[in-house]
């Protein structure tokens, strides 16, 4: 019951390219997980595997079901948006809301219409007449009106301006999320959701490079900000990442004792974006 997603040795190849290479992770219920990776890293492949849209090797269970073989049953419990910017071009706003209401037992049309009332989307408009941002808002309004155990969003805020992105995440957290739901979001826009997350998964080149709860990041990773004269001893301690800007050096250490680093400069918990770059570059070395 507590574990919503369980993946062991998940692999998927497209020809000779390994889109997913022996990835293992699990997601507990009531979490906001985020898969972060650069374009082409395997995020979307991982999502497609989770949603039963693609064949894979390895063991995978979502809500206790095999997504590839039990996809129909899974879709009753899971809501996903693979691409927020895509809805059928011919359909009208009120039609798509009525349709989802008709086929989805967990969809609350009233709630969806409330979300839509806050936007400028005309209820009778055809999708093809809406701007890309409006299509995204419509799609998200539908998804957020579905009471699903697991909501999977692939690049949900791509193409939205900063205000729309912020209002989306506010609505997601305030109106949607509670302990009975799990959110899985893929993105490469790291900073704006950092404070919302409970867990972090980094994927690069088909491999899982980091899987950690957010509140453990401070225990495991430390960022040292220092000046040039302390750079050499810091480097000797084996940072996973080094960055130089405006005469200051920033090192990120993985699993090093803070006491040993403290004399060298200022210590802080690295931001997700810095950690992302650090682990990715680490993985490429």
């Amino acid at each position: 019951m507590g574990t919503l997603i369980e993946a062991t040795g998940l692999s998927k190849s497209y020809g000779s390219a390994r889109a997913l290479d022996d990835v293992s992770f699990s997601v507990e219920a009531g979490r906001i997980d985020k898969q972060i990776g650069p374009n082409g890293a395997g995020k979307t492949t991982a999502l497609k595997a989770l949603l039963g849209l693609t064949h894979y090797d390895g063991y995978l269970r979502v809500a206790g079901l095999d997504p590839y073989r039990q996809r129909d049953a899974l879709m009753q419990d899971v809501c996903f948006i693979a691409d927020v910017a895509v809805l059928p071009r011919w359909i009208r706003v009120h039609q798509v809301v009525a349709f989802v209401e008709g086929v989805h037992p967990r969809f609350r049309a009233e709630r969806c219409r409330e979300f839509l009332a806050r936007t400028n989307i005309p209820p009778k408009a055809q999708v093809k007449t809406l701007s890309k941002g409006m299509v995204t808002q419509l799609h998200l309004a539908i998804a957020m009106a579905i009471d699903a155990k697991l909501l999977v969003l692939d690049e949900p805020t791509l193409g939205l301006d900063i205000l729309a992105r912020k209002s989306f995440y506010d609505a997601l957290i305030n109106d949607y999320f509670d302990e009975s739901r799990t959110l899985l979001i893929t993105t490469h826009q790291v900073e704006e959701v950092e404070h919302l997350l409970t867990d972090l998964l980094f994927i690069n080149r088909g491999k899982l490079v980091l899987d950690t709860p957010m509140d453990r990041i401070g225990e495991r990773f430390v960022q040292l900000i220092t000046t040039a004269d302390h750079a050499a001893p810091a480097r000797a301690l084996g940072p996973i990442h080094e960055q130089q800007a405006l005469g200051r050096f920033a090192f990120i250490f993985d699993g090093k004792d803070a006491a040993a680093l403290a004399p060298l400069g200022e210590l802080r918990t690295p931001g997700v974006a810095d950690l992302f770059v650090a682990t990715l570059q680490g993985g490429q070395q």
């Binding site: 019951m1 219920a29 129909d72 009753q76 895509v86 059928p88 071009r89």
Partner: protein, 330 residues
């Protein structure tokens, strides 16, 4: 965590929409998307009724008066009326043949092309239900729509004929002699017979069922290509059919496949002509054109028909499989 989960909202546990309701919405969605379902038969009806409303008799290019040879009696008039009504169905069914096949060819392809397939697949309607909703539209809704348009067109035609009978009879009389004028009046008189309309509607229902059965392999084939091809479903479907026909003619010097193709495409329309081929018969209520029972029976017991139905079901199964398991690389 478990405690929190259990006290959470009614998210846990499986709820499902009634499957019939889901199916109804899937069909409704098809009708929203494919406006051509109504437009094609409406154009067909408009052309027929426009001709009936403004047409007139002229001897241009038809200088041989045929009036004197015409035998005008009640059975003959009933035969003409029945044939005229059912003849009006032919353009509707030829139109239907095209709308149906192109509907099947595009219905699973269009949403893959514009990538909205992922939206449809994100909803709790299975791929089997989705494909079956398209089979239902192609093989039930479309023939029923054709049937309704045909009957309405026939009825409006009969009204126009009643209104214009004096005018047309005079024109016919001038052109072909009094016998032709009498024939026109007898024809319009026969159109007023309720038995004629009963026989007409029953025949059309029979044709609609026959149409659905004969064309099922074509619908299945269209859906399979639609679900499986990477691009250009029509080109692919046409080349494959043409290729099989050509291969047969080169290898075996025969044309069985092409013959089957025509038989399935036109089987119902041929059945329509069979239906009107019998002589008008007297019954307790008057003269009605008889439906040739033997020929219709021969049509439903044809192994070609049922072999096609089996093939159609296999194709549909293939389309469901392709819809479900084809990895859409987006």
């Amino acid at each position: 965590m478990n405690a929190v989960l259990e006290s959470g909202k009614a998210v846990a546990g499986s709820v499902q929409a009634p499957r019939l309701q889901v199916f109804k919405w899937l069909v409704r969605r098809e009708l929203w998307e494919h406006r051509g379902i109504w437009i094609a038969p409406a154009i067909c009806a408009a052309i027929i009724l426009f001709s009936a409303a403004v047409g007139h008799v002229s001897l241009d290019g038809n200088p041989e008066p045929r009036g004197p040879g015409l035998v005008v009696n009640a059975p003959a008039a009933a035969q003409w009326a029945g044939t005229a009504l059912l003849g009006m169905a032919v353009p509707f069914y030829i139109t239907l043949l095209f709308t149906q096949f192109f509907y099947a060819l595009n219905s699973l392809f269009d949403d893959r092309k514009d990538r909205s397939v992922l939206f449809w697949k994100s909803l709790p309607a299975s791929d089997l239900e989705t494909v079956l909703s398209k089979v239902f539209v192609a093989s039930v809704v479309l023939p029923v729509v054709a049937l309704l348009f045909t009957v309405v067109t026939q009825a409006v035609f009969a009204l126009l004929a009643a209104v214009r009978v004096g005018e047309i009879a005079t024109q016919l009389g001038t052109a072909f002699g009094p016998n032709a004028a009498a024939a026109a009046r007898a024809f319009v008189g026969a159109l007023a017979s309720p038995q004629l309309w009963l026989a007409d509607v029953l025949t059309l229902l029979w044709v609609a069922v026959g149409f659905a059965l004969w064309t099922l392999p074509l619908v299945g084939y269209g859906l399979l290509v639609s679900a499986a091809t990477a691009r250009a479903p029509f080109v692919f479907a046409a080349l494959l059919l043409g290729g099989v026909g050509l291969a047969e003619s080169l290898l075996f010097h025969s044309d069985w496949f092409v013959g089957q193709l025509f038989q399935h495409a036109l089987g119902a329309i041929v059945g329509l002509s069979h239906a009107t081929a019998g002589p008008a018969a007297m019954n307790a209520h008057g003269y009605v054109p008889s439906v040739s029972g033997e020929r219709l029976l021969a049509a439903v017991t044809s192994p070609d028909l049922w072999g096609g139905v089996v093939l159609g079901v296999l194709f549909i199964g293939g389309a469901v499989w392709a819809r479900r398991y084809r990895d859409e690389n987006t």
